[in-house]
């Protein structure tokens, strides 16, 4: 199994991003996804900066994939997508069906990202015919669901023609909205948000009236309140999963990456779940549950 670093989902200042990817370069990550996937107003790095950064990491020996925006509404956002698709070198993670259409037209190979509704092998086959090389399973699906899909793909004779990646660690993107919840939390209009997401490099915690952390607000994206962690579930992934995704919240991601690496290399450390960690989706129960 390979390890990937998912795109940074939060809005970080340019320097933090550059420092992060400096470290990513020397990390053991096999694949690096990068790009703005949440909000087109976030421009610490402009699209061409992301493409340049991606190319430079790629020239230094990493496999790099450009991640695209999940919720595409304005024509200007389609233009950004076109720019990514026209990068001429790197593959793209499609996070909207619109991206699949453009990538197919331009004959650019792509990864089907976790924000695309792909729930069965027939869809995978259709996407494969459009140029899909890798599929990141939607976060809400379980091991059972995946196993059935893998079985169906074998029957269709396509299992060896694309890779399967699973979101294995981090706060999960669970929803996308017209409304910016970070701006709303500061009583700002979305139109006049002053890019306030930059103040929350790990999003804004949302708790119930009993202090249970239920969501992390990240602009128009709502994330899980608990951190998904499948490190103890690696044995149940054998033969099903090709790549594990670590979704970074900070440079702590590199430490987590190392822990996963050691597990893959045969160490069997048990990592008891902290109270803010969960793995329910993998076990076909409520996502926020934790099975040790």
């Amino acid at each position: 199994m390979k390890l990937s670093l998912g795109p940074v989902l939060y809005y970080w200042p340019e320097k933090s991003i550059m420092d992060f990817y400096d470290q990513a370069l020397s990390s053991t990550a096999d694949i690096i996804y990068l790009g703005e996937t949440v909000c087109s107003k976030r421009r610490e790095l402009k699209t061409r900066d992301w493409i340049e950064l991606a190319k430079s990491l790629s020239q230094q020996g990493k496999e790099v994939v450009l991640s695209s925006l999940a919720l595409l509404e304005a024509p200007s956002e389609i233009k950004i997508l076109q720019q990514l698709c026209d990068n001429g070198e790197l593959s793209v993670e499609a996070n909207d069906v619109g991206a699949i259409q453009l990538l197919h037209e331009k004959k650019v190979p792509f990864t089907c990202g976790p924000a695309i509704n792909c729930y069965n092998a027939s869809v995978l086959k259709l996407f494969m015919n459009k140029g899909m090389q890798r599929w990141v399973m939607p976060v809400e699906l379980s091991r059972d669901w995946l196993q059935q899909i893998v079985f169906d793909c074998q029957a269709l004779g396509i299992r060896d023609q694309f890779e399967i990646e699973v979101f294995a660690h981090g706060f999960m993107p669970l929803a996308y909205s017209a409304r910016c919840f970070t701006a709303r939390s500061e009583n700002k209009a979305k139109d006049d948000c002053e890019l306030c997401c930059i103040k929350y490099p790990q999003g804004r915690a949302t708790t119930t009236q009993e202090d249970q952390q239920v969501f992390i607000l990240n602009g128009i994206q709502t994330q899980s309140g608990y951190c998904y962690n499948l490190i103890n579930d690696l044995p149940s992934m054998q033969g099903l999963v090709d790549i594990l995704r670590i979704s970074p919240s900070s440079v702590q991601a590199f430490k987590i990456l190392e822990n996963f690496r050691k597990e893959l290399q045969g160490e069997h450390t048990q990592y008891p779940h902290a109270h803010y960690e969960c793995n329910g989706f993998w076990h076909k129960i409520a996502g926020l549950e934790s099975v040790n």
């Binding site: 509704n117 069965n120 869809v123 976060v139 929803a175 329910g280 989706f281 926020l288």
Partner: protein, 331 residues
Amino acid sequence: MELLCPAGSLPALKMAIDCGADAVYIGLKDDTNARHFAGLNFNDKKIVKGAQYVKDHYKKLHIAINTFAHPGHEIRWRNAVDKCVDLGADVAIIADIATLDYAANKYPELELHLSVQASATNSAAIDFYQKNFNIKRVVLPRVLSIQQVKQLSRNTNIALEVFAFGSLCIMAEGRCYLSSYFTGESPNTVGACSPAKFVRWLETDNGLESRLNNILIDSYQSHEKTGYPTLCKGRYNVGGKLYHVIEEPTSLNTLSILPELMQANICSVKIEGRQRSVAYVEQITQVWRAAIDAYQASPAQYKVLDAWTSMLDNVSEGNQTTLGAYHRKWQ
């Protein structure tokens, strides 16, 4: 402009037709349907009667097959498409790409509409579905502003349908896993959001609590109105402030922008609420029929009548309505 009304039962279907709906949409009694609630929807016998009633009144029948086919069980979604054709329904509303593929190949004559659950919010996505499955219409997600709806209308040649009234889903539909995060069941997988079987109401010293799978959604004092604990409509804390972090309990109501929708060439206005009562269907159908007729009779004189507003407020969540994402300020 077509008035497309919800029907979760045969009496609701008849009521919608009798009150002036141009078309109704319904679903089967299984998880191919994103309103898969106990006591709702059409079994084999009822659906035949419903289809006949619609036909007898020269109206249109849309069947929603709007969840995503489970691996190993695709046959259920295919059967739903077959049933649609056997019944002589006018339209299948489909979300899943595998199901669209099946329908487009097996029944090239069947009119396909792209379900809102497919979440096509841009011209490139619409292009994908149009080119691959020859869909004739897209139901637009409730995340677009009226400006964005107009832009799409100018930039695509496909018929566009919008949600005009009803419960307001604030997330891009079909791409929200909040319900399965809380309960293990989501619209995409089982056809229900915040399912009723996980709801508990508890009278406590702090007030009346609503819980979903034991997670506290809201707590009400005696003077406060209670609402169904849809998880995105709860009151939570952010930065020491307690408020409706995601959305207030409120309903979408676009009566005031009906002229703009007409001018943007929107071909159909859809009313949400297959889970609602026959009385609800009666009231919303009457009001929307009256509004569309009034506009078409005399566009320049169109105005929202107080009587319409109060009727709609009565059947709205929290007795309040909003223009939702159509209005930029709300965003």
